[in-house]
Symmetry: C2
Subunit: 354 residues, 2 copies
């Protein structure tokens, strides 16, 4: 597993401080600080400014972060707390995109991102804020009984929730899960399907799962179709749960179309259909949710609700930065989704369904 050759430690030269820069430029530390931070309210003659800048460049001076954070009373860091199990995080194929957007927004606001993946049984994250390692937190996937979160919110810490918690007075960001799901099911209805199943993306304690299911029910209600609990199965993040979920649906008399509230779960569901010798979309249509990067390339390319993961991360970051700055912020931000029709949906085999 390893090669024997080793890399040993080298002594690092001491990093230059603002005092070094001041000495080299022949000014005081205060002046250096004024120049480095470009303070508009202090007048520094161009000649002096140049001297300081040259000295800083020559020494390759970088202000000491922790010292600056201590003096300024701000860590310029935002924390991303992922309150999910390892398996759940692993199945989140939109996370890379989300993280990218979040980091971009943070950087634009002068912040960096600290990630704190913390399985539900894994301990607490309040310390991040209370110890001032982070100025604010984005909490993704908190449970309803997360008292820690409630306490932090009560104490007025800047927090943005990724998802939703109805009971807390805290800004949240999410896509419009309900409207998105509704759109997907409406698409199935328009194709002529009447008997439409649903596999959720997660257990219904997860608000996103409950919302998507609500969207499904909305669409059925509007179309005048009675809700049949026998057509609803709970998925659990990963493809395997879609596989067994679909098997369950097929046992209850197969629907002509299924709304699967997650692409990953849908991929498992499709496998379940094929196990039963059914073709997609000829025999059963599948509409999904998330539009993960490979959704357009699996077989068949998925008709799915596009989730703008990058934009979501960006919005969350932007919101948190605003909140930290003390700017008022909308209580709930819902990003729109868009149905992408590909090849996993079609008109039912026998027009009118069965």
């Amino acid at each position: 597993m390893t090669v024997s050759e080793e890399v040993r430690v080298r002594e690092r030269p001491r990093q230059p401080t603002s005092a070094d820069v001041a000495a080299l430029a022949g000014v005081s530390r205060t002046t250096v600080s004024f120049v480095i931070n470009g303070r508009a309210d202090v007048q520094i003659p161009p000649k002096t400014r140049r001297r300081v800048e040259d000295a800083a460049r020559e020494l390759d001076y970088h202000p000491h972060g922790p010292a600056r954070q201590l003096a300024a009373g701000a860590s310029l860091t935002i924390g991303l707390v992922m309150r999910q199990s390892a398996e759940q995080v692993a199945a989140d194929m939109n996370l890379p995109n989300y993280l990218w957007g979040l980091a971009a927004a943070a950087r634009a606001g002068g912040y960096r991102v600290l990630v704190e993946p913390l399985a539900p049984e894994d301990g607490t994250y309040a310390g991040l804020l209370r110890s001032r390692r982070a100025d604010g937190l984005i909490v993704s996937g908190p449970r309803d009984d997360d008292d820690e979160l409630a306490a932090l919110v009560r104490d007025g810490f800047p927090i943005v929730i990724q998802g939703w918690r109805a009971d807390l007075d805290v800004p949240s960001v999410d896509v419009d899960n309900r409207a998105g799901a509704r759109g997907a099911v409406e698409h199935l209805l328009e194709l002529g399907h009447r008997r439409i199943g649903c596999i959720t993306n997660a257990p219904l304690q997860y608000t996103a799962a409950a919302e998507r299911l609500s969207g499904y029910r909305d669409a059925l209600t509007t179309a005048g179709i009675d809700f049949d609990p026998g057509l609803v199965v709970e998925g659990a993040f990963d493809a395997a749960s879609g596989h067994v979920g679909m098997a369950g649906l097929l046992r209850n008399g197969g629907p002509s179309a299924v709304f699967v509230a997650s692409d990953v779960v849908a991929i498992g569901a499709i496998r379940g259909l094929r196990d039963a010798g059914l073709r997609i979309p000829a025999d059963v249509s599948i509409a999904a949710f998330d539009d993960i990067p490979i959704a357009a390339h699996v077989d068949p390319p998925l008709t799915t609700v596009h989730l703008p993961a990058g934009a979501l991360g960006e919005a969350a970051g932007q919101l948190l930065v605003d909140r930290i700055a003390g700017r008022p912020v909308p209580a709930r931000t819902l990003l729109p989704t868009e149905l992408i029709v590909r090849d996993s949906t079609a008109v039912p085999r026998k027009s009118g369904g069965r």
Copy 2:
């Protein structure tokens, strides 16, 4: 997109400091520091210790991170620098797992993880280290001409490379790409394939891509098969590149099996095959690389080289923590891979190939 109701700012109470704890416990700040940090070399009578601990608990005291970092001269933070484009990161479906492993190892060593996604044209990351915001860095996907990296290594900063850079004296972590690829191709050979194509996971400037291609060539050479450049196509991280790549291969007279050096690219390649009316594995076998979480559930379930993403992140984190602590560390750590045989590979249609 948003609801009008807004969340306003609340005044936060001042966080308690060690002086507050000292006052409440009736001791000096120094004693508090000794108790909090559990210094073994100082004797504190149990009674005093209890008083301090009770006071800390009562005030919900958390030491101020930046102050601590300043005094200790360590930020207790490691940075994960992702030197890839947004698209490339988005297509990395093992990233969530990797991140989880990395964070776990970091936490075990008392560190936290700061992520810095930085597209190649996006600026520098040296400041992270020079400003002491991070004590060490894991650099993933650096380019060969990354002078910044060379400078940091020269200055003796603790750095671990995710991947490989032959020219730098810096510890690196990776899976054994070459052996893994070789194993996959050997599996195809054992099935009886002789005309085996290859679609790389990325352009060959990326060392992982070059290594996997080497593994492919190794296997052919050992089997006594001449290398045919016409059977090799470059992929580029995403499924779309696999799609067009396969189309190219088919134009050059189709192989009976293809080693696609990435699951995501393979999913596109499979689509390319089906566009041409070919079945997998009946007409063409596909062996891939990465074993992303859905690899077992796509159609057909992929025969692929398992990449232990979580373990990889964990190893990288562990190595960096050791390096920061000044412990000697192996120059190159290669994690083993394992071929997972599923349903995308089979014996060639006409025994002996064509």
